[in-house]
Amino acid sequence: MEAVAEWGRALYETTGINLTILYDAFDQKRFISGLGMTIYLSVVSLFFSLVIGVIGAWAQGSDFKLVRWLINGFIVIFRNTPPLVQIFFFYFGLSNLLPYIEDADGMRAPLFTNVQWAIISLSLFAGAFNIEIFRSGIEAVPNSTKEAASALGYTRLGTYLYIVLPLAIRVCLPALNNNLVNLLKTTSLAYAIAVPELLYASKQIWTDAQNVPTMMVVLLFTYVALVGVLVWAMNAWERSMAIPGYGAGRAR
């Protein structure tokens, strides 16, 4: 650790490239906690967006017109309005309409913190896309395959669980990957409501240390690396799910 700090200082002295995150404990802590917050936002929103996607896709097949109508309305609105305005609408607008609670010190505090609002809006935003993705996956399973399952005595639920879902997930994966990568990138919008994520932390650091170009490059590469890890993981999953003889597995 010390060697890294030493190298960082030497780099600054010899080249003028000021990587404070290498030798300044405070900046380092800020950067790492920013990175942690970005990962936290991504993972939690990813989870909730998947839940929204599965439930939404299921509810879209509901027998109640009103339910279908609401789900479609939700998708259309969240896909066609800027995610940043959605975040503002939730954080500034809705937050004020919700009741306040008393925090530990007896102070009036909003029901949700800015981090929680970021998670709510990011999950809803990505979830709206996931519903569409899951639906198209379910629709891609041909009726004849479902008919074969019925002919074997499967119930509707059994057909869904054993046949439709396993196939639908495989159809969805590429689009799902894309959307989850997008979600990871969209977490940077939480900056706008002062969530101390990667961009926010980096901006604090470059404001204090006056090393904008250096930090900017570090920041970009960090995001590219994060996206790279996610893409790699999702591709590995996709490969492990590939069916020999079809689609990606066909090349085997």
Binding site: E147, A151, G153, Y154, I163, L167
Partner: protein
Amino acid sequence: MAKPLIGTPAVAPWTPDQPIISIVDVRKAFGAFEVLKGVSLDVRKGEAICIIGPSGSGKSTLIRCINALVDVNSGSILVENQEVNDPRLDKLKLRRKVGMVFQQYNLFPHKTALQNVMMAPINVLKQDKKEVEERARALLAKVRLTGKENSYPGELSGGQQQRVAIARSLAMRPDIMLFDEVTAALDPETVKEVLVTIRELAEEGMTCLLVTHEMKFARDVADHIYFTDKGVIVEHAPPEEFFANPKDERTRTFLGQIL
């Protein structure tokens, strides 16, 4: 019979001297288009019945009525003396008695051949996995697919897939097998291997209903041939008589075109 298989009361307990399937005046319309205009036929246990006729004559719809994949508008379908055209019907119980093989095989692409055969007995009938696996391997051997147990459908030829589909259906130990133009999507070279499998089944005494375009096969295998056209059964007869001496003009025209 120990217990009703279909969930609706039987007219009377079925005895092997009665038809195992008895269809009386069945009508079915999709929208304004009437596909079946009053069809009747009887099948006895162990018989192989072939239904032939031009495309769109309602053959596929007819056999789909037997395992309730298609609901009919009116008429009666008795399977082992129990009414299929009844809202109280337990379709799932019926389908465990009546196996079906499709034109497009419809295997589950994410499962190996062996898993395809094993799935339904384990998931639906809740049978013991080991016992099912044993049976599944035996069935795959029976359809001459030993060595292909771990291949995925996408890695098999059409004929091989269709034989897996037959084994999959047999694994449910059905009393009756329905075959819906099972060779129509196959390459000419692989048609034979599937037909051999079906012939063996029929010879073993499985009750078979086949919709087919293979006239030679129908003549060899069938105990009785039904000819349908435009939603009605034009005529039916044992194969020798049917091919040697067709009575109706429409049958003659059809046979003239196809033979």
